[in-house]
Symmetry: C2
Subunit: 477 residues, 2 copies
């Protein structure tokens, strides 16, 4: 293994190299944009899925599974939607040597697979709200540069879909979904921005689109999730209607909530450092690694002691592994720092004879604990580590957002630009051009507390009009 | 809801109807052979996946995820394999309007996706055995009649793949896989046959194929899983070789282990009855349903009591639901019998004031328990239910296998035929013809103890040659 490139100066080189060296993803699959999840990487992905499931269960979402293949006839029912996707979908045209009567689309997202069935499931107002999600592979024929987890052609995707009585209850669902995302981000130690995308950048078919964006350095951002309000834009073409309490037939309103494997890419990109991965405990494939450190004398009861510790921590529900391979301890420290284990337990003859353990977390904090209080010491150290990791990420997040008071600053700023915008499309495109990137939209809620920020949004950074709203712009990923 | 068709006289009508009425699968998706897993059905599927994961973990299998799209160039490397699948695969030919340079196959199974990567992962004998699995959607362009779970075009599929040093260690892996399947079948209360498929019916590319078959009535069987030994048939074309301890380069031997959603279909088909589904507790979406039974007087503390019970059972790790809807108790009993809940708790004023519960399992056994011993009473009742369900299935299994001593009996037998076979292909095809179905292969291990069975295999049912081996034949599903 060679030294990692500098994350600060060459983010994507660092990112590719750390994924390869830590063996999270194998990029050597012989089709561009399709990657292999290794056993190590898959454990993190599966842990992320559990976090997502746990976060949406209290909202009443139930898990389902719809087919990956969508007939062209259904796919084309909502016109804006198909326009947004028709250059991005994979077409299945043949079964064996036989041309299919109706061509099939590999789902890029599942509105058009689900909604013909929702039309059958929803009859009465008592069937509403309908709230389902699935975690599946979706497909997009990406023509841009692909990058593991950030932009791929087969995407590991959480998609929540709800059917609601009216526009207001759908809007409330959107807020609830955002609330569940706060829980998810907390578990992952991530800070993020919520944007209302400009009209011209909404999801195809949406009434409005809220996006969750994370700064990734050098003024770039990564969209890690979205929540859309569809109003009745899909329910009309797909015939999703219900009988209300008064016996009248009404079209339903709908929302969706999407989170992709990009979220795990963000975890890696945000927390990793010059030594390698840094997993938050919630998704770490190995939360605690035990490294036996033989002294110069006989090993004595070192192995049984390490086994006792491993057994107790496993019983406490932790993902723990003892590295009892032939390498010297220093090489193991190096490896498990690269692989991002949050906590290392060093167990040598001194620890064994004194029934103690030495704890070293991935940020370098070292402590001692008695074996009597092992479980509490380990869970306490993991929790302190999680909090510190979150704080560090929060500080880095704020350091990547820059208030821009005048149009001239849009081009020269090095970070994500935060400014006033009047809402006019013309001014929005002027921002795009000045930044050499994109207006991300208006900021939902209070703006991030970055230095020099006035209390109220200033006038529009382009035309000077008031009132304006807080908006941001960033460079393309 | 209407009465179910007779399972005995019209199995598939019963099967389709119970899936629809209990809302396990929605068959109304607008493409033949593609179905929707409802929230209820998906819970059973997810529970089955957990059973599979738990069964293979002790064997050292690790979970991975490979792409669903396989380039035509890789797909064609093993010639028998492609010949076995080329009329059954879906072809992806276009990305948007652009024809792809290399056409892509939607995986029918993942040998050809995984093995180019295994060739990179395996270098030395110390990398072996490599044991990975994935649970994914696979695709087959079925031209025969499709049936939910039994024969579909998108298949929920567990596939284990191992790479071994030599033929013998691969054969040992096959035995270990069979051992893990015994654990799985035990959890599901299923009895099954293990067959060595005849040469002409092996998996395309396999050295030998063992199949797990379940009798489904009227002399039919369902293949619910397979374990294959590939010898070096794939490692040679895909270049999977390793350096042995002596420094010599050798081609690896390989095995695979496949279990599809058919397994869940078998659970439904085997255990269900005239009232509907009967889930073994291990996969039941709802293991315990609590039905409050209001008396004629005031409800009193009925609701808090039911809530206490639900809370305690949930805390004990059970999947429990209280049906507090407006229907009368009898209608709820009917519904949850249809939906197959293993155990119903009836809670009325008498139970509430006496702090007892009435337990009724899905086979009709009724008992009482004190609230003090609620958890033990419920888990005990579920365990007794599981054992009885398994015994009932075992008896039905044995009743569906029939010893056939003479060729004339092959055609007239009503059940799965068990007989002697010399191993000759000519005799095998004569069996196929006589049965109007298929020779399933030779029985692995001792034959099932059905009435009238001689101790040793009799001479070949067709040609009379000895020695012969126990073999079976059944009608196509």
């Amino acid at each position: 293994m060679t030294e990692l490139p500098s994350k600060e100066n060459a983010f994507f080189e660092w990112y590719n190299e750390v994924l390869e060296q830590a063996f999270v993803i194998d990029k050597r699959y012989p089709v561009k944009g399709l990657n292999v999840w290794t056993p190590f990487g898959f454990q993190a992905l599966a842990a992320m899925d559990r976090i997502l499931r746990d976060a949406v269960a209290p909202l009443g979402y139930e898990e389902v599974n719809f087919p990956a293949l969508i007939p062209e006839t259904e796919f084309q029912k909502e016109k804006d939607h198909i326009k947004g996707f028709d250059r991005q979908v994979y077409w299945v045209t043949h079964g064996g040597a036989t041309p299919l009567d109706v061509r099939l689309v590999l789902r890029p997202t599942s509105e058009t697979a689900m909604y013909p069935i929702f039309a059958l499931w929803v009859r009465s107002h008592t069937d509403l709200p309908l709230r389902v999600f699935q975690i599946v592979n979706t497909f997009r024929y990406e023509t841009k540069t692909t990058r593991p987890m950030f932009r791929v052609r087969e995407i590991h995707f959480f998609e929540g879909h709800t059917v609601q009585r009216d526009e207001q209850s759908a809007a409330q669902q959107v807020e609830k979904d955002l609330g569940s995302f706060r829980v998810i981000a907390e578990a992952l130690g991530l800070s993020y921005l919520v944007h209302r995308r400009p009209e011209w950048d909404k999801f195809p078919g949406a009434h409005y689109s809220l996006a969750l964006d994370i700064p990734l350095g050098e003024g770039r951002t990564l969209q890690i999730g979205t929540v859309h309000h569809y109003r009745d834009n899909f329910s009309r073409p797909y015939g999703i209607s219900y009988e209300d309490a008064g016996g009248e037939r009404r079209f339903a309103h709908q929302t969706t909530y999407g989170i992709s494997e990009r979220l795990l890419g963000a975890v890696i990109g945000i927390h990793g450092d010059s030594k390698g991965l840094v997993w938050p405990p919630s998704v770490a494939p190995v939360q605690v690694v035990i490294v036996p450190v033989p002294g110069k004398g006989p090993a004595g009861n070192l192995t049984p002691y390490a086994e006792e510790i491993e057994g107790r921590l496993r019983k406490a529900g932790l993902r723990v592994r003892t590295d009892d391979g032939p390498d010297r301890p220093g090489a193991k420290y190096y490896l498990w720092e690269l692989k991002g284990a949050p906590l290392r337990l060093e167990v040598g003859p001194r620890e064994s004879s004194g029934r103690t353990v030495t704890l070293v977390d991935r940020l370098g904090h070292r402590s001692q604990a008695s074996a009597d209080t092992l479980e509490a010491a380990v869970t306490g150290a993991l929790e302190r580590f999680r909090v510190e990791l979150s704080s560090r990420a929060r500080a880095a997040f704020l350091g990547q957002i820059e208030f821009v008071a005048a149009a001239s600053g849009l081009a020269t700023a090095k970070n994500v630009r935060l400014f006033g915008w009047c809402g006019a499309e013309k001014c929005g495109h002027a921002v795009d051009e000045a930044v050499g990137g994109s207006l991300l939209g208006t900021v939902e809620g209070p703006p991030p507390p970055v230095p020099g920020l006035p209390t109220d949004p200033p006038s529009c950074v382009i035309c000077g009009a008031t009132p304006s709203r807080w908006a941001t712009a960033s460079r393309p990923l």
